[in-house]
């Protein structure tokens, strides 16, 4: 009896033991292939509003040529895109449009906030401008600058690629989406108040990105724990 149960237990264990490596292997292989494919063919959805959009155009034009990294297709349709590049100021009048475009993009998707205005409101702490698009959509990479140089945007795209490398297809957390939150602010009212304080969003971004102080220079590789 005890022996049988023992053998059953050990059988289950050995099964698990053999299963895990194989699943693990397949998952890893999946990650490798899928992430490689995703990484190499990011399709940006350029959500350009103001001055930063001109630098985004420059990044796509002859000299900087974003297509080198696989971002060949600047699609203006959110249904066929996976990186939203928000370049420029976003007003409250524009906010629902941006949120809708984000909701229309299929998973997996990433978001780049290009420039001071999109990230924090920039110098425009006024009645009409959102103090950072991260109040409305989740942001993966912030690009500082007013406007960032095209190299800055390219670097952000490389960081997205870096981020994809570390993702796992079977990890549900990174891809979960709550239908309840569609069309709603990304943050709670308290958090919005907090980050809308003067300088609020820049300190907030430092905190969430694990950079309490901004003194050391962190590269994408440095940031992996």
């Amino acid at each position: 009896m005890s022996k049988g149960s023992e053998s059953a237990g050990s059988g289950a264990r050995s099964q698990v033991e053999t299963e895990i490596p194989r699943n693990w292997f397949i998952a890893k292989l999946d990650d490798l292939v899928v992430n490689w494919a995703r990484r190499g063919s990011l399709w940006p959805m350029p959500f350009g509003t103001a001055c930063c959009a001109i630098e985004m155009m420059a990044a796509a034009a002859s000299k900087y040529d974003m297509a080198r990294y696989g971002m060949e297709r600047m699609g203006y349709t959110p249904r066929q895109a996976d990186v939203m590049i928000v370049a420029g100021r976003v007003s409250y009048k524009m906010a629902p449009v941006m949120r809708r475009i984000w909701d229309q993009m299929p998973q997996p998707k990433w978001c780049i906030s290009m420039g001071a205005c999109a990230s924090t409101g920039g110098v425009f702490d006024t009645y009409t401008l959102m103090q950072g698009i991260d109040t409305v959509v989740p942001v993966d990479v912030y690009v500082p600058g007013c406007p960032p140089r095209p190299e800055g945007l390219l670097y952000a795209l490389l960081m997205i690629q870096e981020k994809i490398k570390g993702e796992s297809v079977i990890d549900p957390r990174s891809r979960e989406e709550d239908p309840e939150r569609v069309g709603k602010p990304h943050l709670t009212p308290e958090e919005i108040e907090h980050i809308a304080e003067p300088f609020g969003n820049s300190t907030f971004q430092n905190r969430v990105s694990g950079l309490e102080s901004s003194s050391p220079i962190h590269r994408p590789g440095d940031r992996k724990e």
């Binding site: 007003s91 009048k93 524009m94 006024t126």
Partner: protein, 597 residues
């Protein structure tokens, strides 16, 4: 077929005493007690205060009998401190090359005034903006809705002095309100149907078959709208019956923010408005403040400013050619022109340190003298750039597709163009030779030899030709300017506006005090007002600046040419095919940062 080129009149604004101006004297004699007072502004231009009840009559008389055929601006003004609201009209007579400003004072609660829509269609959007920002009700306006703020905006009228800079509601509430709007409502047929003045016209029922016009929404996020512009079109088949632009998606509150910044701190805001030609905005603003201060800049500064202005005119026209060609289906010019733009960006970077947000001017001069060798780089650009220009022209000017898509499309005649408020190359393409550089010269433009190209047909093709020719004229100006750059200081020697040199700050108590005062308090501008304008790449760029003697502006009104040109779009496309909408919209050269401000 190159466009005809003409030279404008070299006429200086008459500086004689305002009361001697026959038109002003005539208006006073005619309207008597409707004219409350006559003042002179900082530039010596007349300002006529009229009774709001009779403002329409006065405007009508000025337009019909005194030749003031151009309405440049309508805006509000709130001085705060219990002063009444004011509505400011800026007029221009193409006949006499003379400006005139009209003001009507209104109470804060229930300010009402007769609309000038019957006189100038250009007043359409200007009045809507004054309503949006100040709550002035223009009676008789066919479609008085908010224009920049969302239509259901509840917080009040942003530019009034009692409105806080960051809005009345908390940020969380503002975000919640913005997102709580039902998107489906925004695009419902009712919402789209209200948005027009001419009234929705149903197609005739044809042999019992009920037909209905189709509503097509373009934008606000659409590649062909050159930014965040939303166009709602009513289509009968493929013909546009009515087109209504919705703007304000990029409204940033520049004018409000300027009232909270010192005079020099406004300069970084200006290049974020027209980011396609940032230096033009920097320089235009600085010129306005200098006019208010009554200071004359140094000869070297004038020439450097001309060089910067013309470089930026080329910069802006280049992006126009590139993007318009893309819209019409030609990719190559985009790649060519962006290559050249990068070269101008390099020049920007060498001078200002930034590619786009240059903030290059200061009140009384420039941020610094140009770096050594910079002028040679500009000369190098001037010499080699015509090759690209020729190549681009070879790609487009005789190109059958280009000609077919642009000739006879979106045409407008000279008189209509003036009336609807077109400006800049668009106005000149229609045959009106109005160029601020000729008609009201600044920066000694009258001493440069250049032509103002004008077209005959006012269609997309003529707008293209005019811009191409303007680039060549800019190169001519650049050549002359490069030949005459004088030596000497770049900044005025005036401790009221320019920081003293470091040796004085460290070495003398006077220098230290004036340095301290300028840094801590900002420069003080004497009370007064001015409406000064320059010819930007897109048209006449006006600055209406009001000072009260303090370190901050009371009112900074930026009258952007794109705003005026955008408001002409419905007149250009109604009756055209939907496919041509893209070409026409591209051809008027808009920059949304300036339209929405």
């Amino acid at each position: 077929m190159p466009p005809r080129t003409v030279s404008g009149k070299h006429m200086k604004v008459r500086a004689d005493a305002v009361s001697e101006r026959p038109d002003v004297a005539d208006v006073v004699a005619r309207f008597g007690d409707a004219i409350r007072s006559i003042e002179t502004d900082a530039a010596g231009e007349p300002v006529v205060n009229v009774d709001p009840e009779r403002s329409f009559e006065v405007l009508e008389y000025l337009r019909d009998s005194q030749g003031y055929d151009m309405l440049k601006d309508i805006t509000g003004l709130d001085l705060g401190g219990g002063h009444p609201l004011q509505v400011v009209y800026q007029l221009w007579s193409t006949r006499d090359s003379a400006p005139l400003r009209l003001k009507a004072a209104l109470p804060h609660d229930n300010p009402k005034l007769e609309s000038a829509f019957g006189l100038w269609r250009a007043s359409d959007w200007l009045e809507r903006e004054a309503y949006d920002m100040y709550g002035v009700i223009f009676e008789g306006h066919p479609d008085l809705r908010r224009i920049l703020m969302p239509e259901n905006y509840e917080e009040g009228y942003p530019l009034r002095k009692d409105f806080p800079l960051r809005g009345r509601f908390s940020r969380a509430e503002q975000t919640r309100l913005a997102l709580s709007r039902e998107m489906e409502d925004l695009y419902s047929l009712d919402e789209l149907a209200v948005s027009g003045r001419s009234g929705s016209r149903r197609a005739e029922p044809d042999e019992g078959l009920e037909t209905q016009n189709m509503i097509l929404n373009i934008g606000p996020q659409h590649p062909a709208t050159h930014g965040v512009l939303r166009l709602v079109c009513e289509l009968d088949g493929e013909t546009i019956v009515k087109c209504t632009p919705h703007i304000g998606y990029l409204h940033t509150g520049f004018e409000k923010l300027s009232e909270y910044r010192t005079w020099n701190q406004v300069i970084p805001l200006t290049d974020r408005m027209d980011y396609l030609a940032p230096m033009l905005y920097n320089i235009g603003y600085a010129l306005g403040v200098e006019e208010l201060l009554g200071i004359e800049i140094t000869p070297r500064c004038k020439v450097i400013r001309v060089i910067c202005s013309e470089l930026n005119r080329v910069l802006s026209h280049l992006i126009w050619v590139g993007t318009t060609a893309i819209d019409i289906g030609a990719m190559t010019p985009f790649l060519y022109t962006f290559e050249e733009r990068e070269r101008i960006y390099n020049l920007h970077e060498a001078y200002a340190g930034a590619r786009m947000t240059t903030s290059v001017s200061r009140v009384g001069g420039m941020m610094a003298d140009v770096p050594p060798g910079w002028l040679d780089s500009v000369r190098d650009f001037v010499e080699t750039f015509p090759n690209t220009l020729d190549e681009t022209e070879r790609l487009l000017t005789q190109n059958a597709i280009w000609v077919g898509r642009t000739q006879g499309v979106g045409a407008i005649g000279a008189e209509d163009a003036l009336n609807v408020g077109a400006c800049g190359p668009n106005l000149r393409a229609s045959g009106v030779a109005y160029d601020v550089r000729k008609d009201k010269p600044y920066l000694d433009y009258e001493t440069y030899d250049f032509d103002v190209p004008i077209g005959d047909h006012g269609d997309v093709y003529d707008r293209y030709l005019v811009r191409m020719e303007e680039m060549r004229q800019s190169l001519r100006i650049l050549e002359q300017a490069l030949d005459r750059v004088p030596d000497g200081p770049i900044n005025v020697d005036d401790p009221r506006v320019i920081l003293p040199p470091k040796s004085q700050v460290m070495g003398s108590i006077d220098g230290m005090i004036s340095h301290f005062k300028l840094v801590m308090e900002g420069l003080k501008v004497p009370a007064g007002e001015v409406w000064s304008s320059i010819e930007s790449s897109k048209g006449e760029l006006g600055f209406y600046l009001v000072a009260d003697g303090g370190p901050k502006p009371v009112r900074c009104r930026f009258r952007g040419p794109s705003f005026m040109n955008m408001s002409t779009l419905p007149c250009l496309v109604e009756g055209e095919l939907i496919a041509d909408l893209i070409a026409v919209n591209a051809s008027i050269d808009i920059v949304l940062g300036e339209i929405d401000r």
